[in-house]
């Protein structure tokens, strides 16, 4: 479970995230929606511990920057970063070693197969296209079998098959009890899979609720989004 309480983040004097609180329960897919510059990526980076912040963040009961928490969560960044001299398969092997996982080989094969990377396993990080890097980045996150997983614009650069497979993988993770937080501004891409929505604007959460809670409004996710974010409404 992921708990975020009173999270604020300032860049110089600019308040980018303003005292937001939310939680993502076990087996729940939460979608962080918002226009460009709403503070979505900053929120995700604060949760991963890549940015300094004010507030409290816990992952399965551990502070997000603790070793225990780090063992439990994974992150797929918006801009994938690869090691130039490591092959696709070596990236997965490295992640397994870094997280102390020994029994990973079958799962590694499954992931490579799933994301069409089997024949690219010997390609170096610096030879990969952006889309392929994104796939490797997803494999690196999934190989650790996380209890909490954070995606920052995960579908950018993916081909239709990879998008389909990623959605399937998300459902499987959810069924295993994983808490999933996905930041995106492509509403259509997450329309079928979300359980909870958090809509951000100017660093604030302007609308949040579960699918059940919002069902009574009889509105699509897109309608909810525009209602919450457009000034004239």
């Amino acid at each position: 479970m992921l708990i975020v309480q009173n999270l604020s983040k300032k860049y110089s004097k600019e308040l980018v995230v303003n005292n937001i609180s939310f939680q993502v329960n076990e087996g729940e897919i939460a979608i962080l929606l918002g226009p460009n510059g709403a503070g979505k990526s900053t929120t995700i980076k604060c949760i991963t511990g890549l940015l300094k912040y004010a507030g409290y963040i816990s992952i399965c009961g551990h502070k997000n920057k603790s070793i225990e928490a780090k063992k439990l969560f994974s992150y797929v960044p918006e801009v994938p970063a690869m090691f130039d001299l490591l092959t696709v398969y070596e990236h997965i092997e490295y992640m397994a070693a870094a997280y102390g996982i020994t029994d990973y080989k079958q799962q590694a094969e499954d992931l490579l197969e799933r994301f069409d990377l089997s024949d690219k396993r010997a390609k170096l990080g610096k030879e990969l296209s952006k889309g392929m890097m994104q796939k490797v980045s997803i494999c690196c996150a999934l190989i650790t079998e996380p209890k909490v997983i954070l995606f920052d614009e995960p579908l950018m650069g993916l081909d239709p098959k990879a998008i389909k497979e990623l959605k399937k993988a998300l459902i499987e993770l959810k069924e295993k009890g994983c808490s999933i937080l996905i930041s995106t501004h492509i509403i259509d891409s997450v329309d079928e899979i979300w359980d909870k929505v958090l809509i951000m604007k100017n660093g604030n959460i302007v609308l949040s609720g579960t699918k059940q809670e919002l069902m009574s409004r009889n509105e699509s996710l897109e309608e909810l989004f525009f209602e919450a974010t457009e000034d004239n409404l």
């Binding site: 980076k45 991963t48 511990g49 890549l50 940015l51 300094k52 920057k65 070793i67 225990e68 780090k70 063992k71 969560f73 994974s74 992150y75 960044p77 970063a81 090691f83 130039d84 001299l85 490591l86 070596e90 092997e93 490295y94 992640m95 397994a96 070693a97 870094a98 997280y99 102390g100 170096l124 610096k126 030879e127 690196c140």
Partner: protein, 516 residues
């Protein structure tokens, strides 16, 4: 042309406004300006003790500088191309309804700024030049001007060369062969001079003082322009400037009239440039990829470690792929430098080599493995203690210093006929100051963080590093004369180790309190 001028005008205006918004950057510029002013003021000191610079030696230095600025750049342009442009120009200017000629002019205007920045730092060499009484008062300005117009011409020639080379393989082969023949002629000429003079140094001086060089288009003329800083400005100075401008115009005309599609030609090189710029902004080592399949050795990833130690074994794997263990191209370059220094250095003193190696460490301090790791989010999220991560992420760099130090000091030590003890002390001293650079670098990263203002931050980091290492170097220099070699080295090593350890504890939080 109006919209293009608008871009330049607005870019200049906004960069000035940015200085107002971010005064830290302005402070950086003011510091550079003050340093430059002081340099120029004090270099103007007309003391009677000034020496005379040998014209033949000056000729040689100018020739070498021109070769270094030109030859590798032109040769690589056959494969990589050249560009005045940025990604935004490709996306927003190239597709606009503006003629390619106008866009090329716009590129030239941008290039003038880039070339000016490239030669600006030569102004800091003013004191060195003005130490000599046969350098004219306007000498530095003339030298900078000569290099400046040469760099602008180089940029035009690079586009022309790439445009011709990219037309077909025959052209590429022809250009490469021409370069190789020219290179071979220079090497043969050098060996003939070496045979005549029997001295490697004199052979270079003799070769680069050949009167024929003045007639080489553009580069020979540039040399004559720069040499006006010693010989004075005459009519030939202006003739050569006119000829260089005419040559640049001719090359531009060829690019246009041959209907060489320079849009496509600059596309690939602009992409490379953008990659290099973003890598520099992230504070990473810049690898210019040429689109060729990278050459790496096939090695098994057998030992992988666990948690933080996985970082160490991954870095070992990367080294194995690019060389033989820790012996890679860098070690070979160090070896060549060591042999050259060992054979031709006028001072047979290992302290001088240590000084040179420390200087190289300072220059390449941001090109180490741990720096690259810090720009990747994985290391921050790796579930282990920050202290362990610092140690494991830097062990390989320390090992590499040991290998490179051993290569350099064993070779130079043998050639200088130094004692084994002195060689050993120098190796340990180099490794110890290397670790001070590594952990000092981590500390500065912790203090300053990463970010976009990489030039300013790099300067500050460099200054902090100099402050950290300076006391050790002062101790070594002072104690060497008073307390003897052994004690001086031991205290130098002790200082480095002590401060490295202290800094590790101060800098270990780099993985916990970072702004990536």
């Amino acid at each position: 042309m109006k919209p293009l001028i608008y871009i330049i005008k607005k870019s200049v205006k906004n960069s000035l406004l940015e200085l107002k918004r971010k005064p830290a950057k302005l402070i950086g510029y003011i510091i550079v300006f003050i340093l430059l002013s002081l340099t120029l003021i004090f270099s103007g000191d007309k003391s009677s003790q000034r020496k005379t610079l040998d014209p033949a030696l000056y000729n040689t230095i100018v020739g070498i500088v021109i070769l270094i600025f030109t030859a590798p750049d032109l040769y690589s342009s056959i494969n990589n191309g050249a560009t005045f442009f940025r990604g935004a120009d490709i996306n927003l200017v190239f597709i606009s309804p503006t003629s390619p000629q106008k866009i090329l002019v716009y590129g030239f205007i941008k290039q003038i700024y880039t070339s000016f920045i490239a030669v600006f730092f030569i102004l800091f060499q003013a004191p060195t030049l003005y130490r000599f009484n046969n350098i004219k008062s306007y000498g530095v300005i003339v030298a900078v001007f000569g290099l400046f117009i040469m760099l602008i011409f180089n940029s035009i020639l690079k586009i022309l060369l790439y445009s011709i080379a990219s037309k077909n393989d025959k052209n590429k082969f022809f250009l490469k062969t021409t370069f190789n023949i020219l290179g071979t002629i220079i090497v043969i000429a050098y060996f003939i001079e070496l045979y005549i003079t029997k001295s490697p140094g004199t052979a270079i001086i003799s070769l680069l003082n050949s009167s024929a060089i003045s007639y080489i288009p553009v580069y020979g003329w540039v040399r004559s322009i720069i040499l006006s800083s010693m010989n004075g400005i005459g009519i030939t100075f202006f003739i050569y400037i006119t000829l260089i401008i005419a040559s640049g115009a001719l090359c531009s005309y060829i690019i246009q009239s041959f209907e060489l599609d320079y849009y496509e030609d600059v596309l690939a090189s602009t992409e490379l440039k953008e990659k290099a710029i973003s890598a520099t902004r992230r504070g990473e080592k810049v690898f210019i990829q040429t689109g060729k399949k990278p050459r790496v050795r096939k090695v098994q990833y057998t030992k992988k470690g666990k948690f933080a130690s996985a970082i160490f074994w991954r870095q070992i794997l990367e080294y194995k792929k690019t060389g033989f263990g820790f012996i890679n191209i860098g070690s070979v370059i160090y070896g060549v430098i060591a042999i050259t220094a060992g054979l031709y250095s006028p001072l047979k003193d290992l302290r001088m080599i240590l000084g040179g190696m420390i200087y190289l460490q300072l220059i390449f301090t941001f090109a180490s493995k741990w720096q690259k790791d810090l720009s990747n989010p994985y290391i921050y999220m790796l579930p282990d203690q920050a202290f362990k991560k610092v140690i494991y992420a830097t062990t390989v760099d320390n090992f590499k210093n040991l290998i490179d130090g051993t290569v350099v000091f064993v070779i130079t030590g043998i050639l200088f006929k130094s004692s084994i003890l002195l060689i050993l002390l120098n190796i340990i001293a180099f490794v110890s100051i290397g670790s001070l650079f590594i952990y000092g670098g981590i500390l500065t990263r912790r203090i300053l963080g990463s970010g976009n203002n990489i030039v300013f931050k790099s300067l500050i980091r460099m200054a902090i590093l100099v402050l950290i290492i300076a006391p050790g170097i002062v101790l070594l220099t002072v104690l060497y004369s008073f307390a003897g070699m052994f004690i001086a080295y031991m205290i130098f090593i002790a200082y480095n180790i002590l401060f490295s350890s202290l800094i590790i504890f101060l800098g270990k939080g780099v993985f916990e309190n970072i702004e990536l």
